[in-house]
Subunit: 351 residues, 2 copies
């Protein structure tokens, strides 16, 4: 389906005067389910792999090593400044592949819909998924739709799984991190968490905060193409920067020292955190990552990230030191503290 | 992890006196989520691909063509005679791969848990998934856990996506079906639908009906190994045999004539259908499939299926005729009727 065809499908392709909301029968295997899939979902996601109606998609895989990942998305509300559940579901899984240095190629999508979901809402989300897949350069090649009775779900949950190609010889993982590596943060932190919070609670912020939700694969592949010897990558989703650093420290058996002053936080995000008592270090992001690279390549890596970034600046926020696995943070007044794993839930259902 | 290790983990590895139920924080990205994943899920599913804690699993793929599929599972109740949501989630996705003639290799798993789910229940389901993965010969290589607030989910939903290898040169799809092909049904129909119904409604059947839930890949690969020129395969899940035949007829542009008398239905299943007004033709199955093969290979195919089957007998139930896409059924009294797509929902949430 060409862009023109998609543009011509602006009205909901399921007759909404007849079916204003999703019914249990839309997941039941019968006529209504086929109508939903054939009229709405398959045309919206159209690609050669999807054209063959089958239980699975058959895919050419031109390398012998692939990356495979999955995530479910249960964000509330499903639409928020800077994104929606569809952009999270596409970019989130694309980013998990990118964090292995993989080139994202194929996505599966599983919808769990609640009976009573407005059909127009589903259509908006399906269209958004298609746009995001186009932006990220992936195909949605196979899928599934289930409907649960009213009260047993929450509008719409989406699972995506993704396949990406490994086209490099690096071993990008926490165990590859080396003493002396620079720690690069790709941009400012906390936007996604605050955007969700503001949308959910109806907060009126002086300057609206948009989610940083964005695909990261192009940036990562540019780092690899430029010969940056990337040791480890991690996107900063649930648990934020703090949790990501602790996970890498523990899994890699390395000590990480970061400098609070180097970590950018948008003024509105900082304001919300101060008022509500959140720590931006643990707020979720959907378009930020940390990269561990040899110190001598750090400046070049930052320049490449900024050339592909969304207006925000990357920074070298720390280094890998000798010592027991631990994450330490140097504050603006020169004090050093240990960064602890966030206990409990800072903000539920942010992705 | 060896079988011995699994056996030694019979008690729940998360301290249930402290955490008797799943909390929102078990999905929040912090300490509790890590405890759940590190203590329960990773050890239960242990394999080399899972050992590297990463956003995606890195997998060797020794062929250039793979099959990729996904399904979400929302069955109620989550445990029923002959299976549970875990066996559906593993075997269902394995079977979707098998229906392309693919050798199932890797599965992803995404849990959407409802706050308040008993931790023991989750542990039982995780253990069951591991056993089923072992039985089906697949690895659970990557996963995700989300928790939604009480009332926004229904205990446990599971999504699995699967990757399988295509090791043959056949094009197994509806468009490969040819006039003259025999239609083979791999066993009796309707068990899964009735097992779910009985468990849900507390029906007391004279003879308990167990779900037919089972992995089908070994059987399909045996057909291919024996040189059966398989034209099309389809497992009979939501919508049952009737919907599967109509889908193949429409997608392949072929007329299919089946013989009601050749379609096996267990006596208890038949009894429940007669009392409650269900048609076994549309009842869900989780371990049955139809195969379209050249007529001269049909007897051999049946023998191979029966050698790998679970005690039930396969049968040649029809043939592909010339004519417009349509499915016709010859009744026991010699009348022919058109098999229609089931309209609406026969039984919700059966998988």
């Amino acid at each position: 389906m060409s862009a023109v065809d998609v543009a011509s499908m602006l009205s909901c392709p399921v007759p909404i005067e007849q079916y204003p909301t999703v019914l249990l029968a839309h997941g039941g295997g019968g006529r209504l389910m086929h109508q939903l899939i054939e009229r709405m979902i398959v045309p919206a996601f159209a690609n050669p792999a999807l054209a063959v109606r089958h239980d699975a998609a058959l895919l050419p895989v031109p390398t012998s090593h692939v990356a495979f990942t999955t995530d479910s998305y249960v964000v509330r509300p499903i639409e928020f400044p800077g994104g929606d559940i569809a952009s999270l579901a596409v970019f989130g899984t694309v980013n998990d592949l990118a964090m292995c240095g993989a080139r994202p190629l194929y996505l599966s999508v599983g919808f769990i819909l609640e009976e009573g979901l407005p059909m127009e809402t589903l259509w908006r989300i399906v269209q958004s998924m298609r746009r995001c897949a186009d932006e990220a350069g992936v195909w949605l090649v196979t899928g599934d739709t289930k409907v649960v009775d009213h009260g047993s779900g929450d509008g719409i949950f989406i699972n995506t799984a993704g396949i990406g190609l490994i086209e490099h010889d690096l071993t990008i993982e926490p165990r590859s991190v080396r003493v002396g590596d620079a720690v690069i943060l790709s941009g400012d932190i906390g936007r996604h968490g605050v955007a969700i919070l503001a949308a959910r609670e109806g907060l009126e912020l002086e300057t609206a905060v948009e989610s940083d939700c964005a695909p990261l694969a192009t940036t990562v592949l540019a780092l690899l193409d430029a010969g940056i010897e990337v040791h480890c990558l991690r996107d900063l989703t649930r648990g934020g920067l703090g949790s990501a650093l602790i996970e890498i420290s523990e899994a890699g058996g390395v000590r990480i020292a970061v400098d609070d002053v180097a970590i950018a936080v948008n003024e509105s995000v900082q304001g919300v955190c101060e008022i509500l008592g959140f720590d931006p270090l643990y707020l979720a992001n959907e378009g930020r990552f940390v990269a561990f690279v040899p110190a001598e390549q750090a400046e070049l890596a930052c320049a490449i990230i900024d050339a592909h970034g969304a207006g925000t600046r990357s920074a070298i926020i720390g280094r890998v030191d000798r010592g027991e696995p631990l994450v330490t943070m140097l504050s603006s007044i020169g004090a050093t503290r240990i960064v602890e794993m966030m206990s409990g839930e800072q903000l539920p259902r942010i992705c």
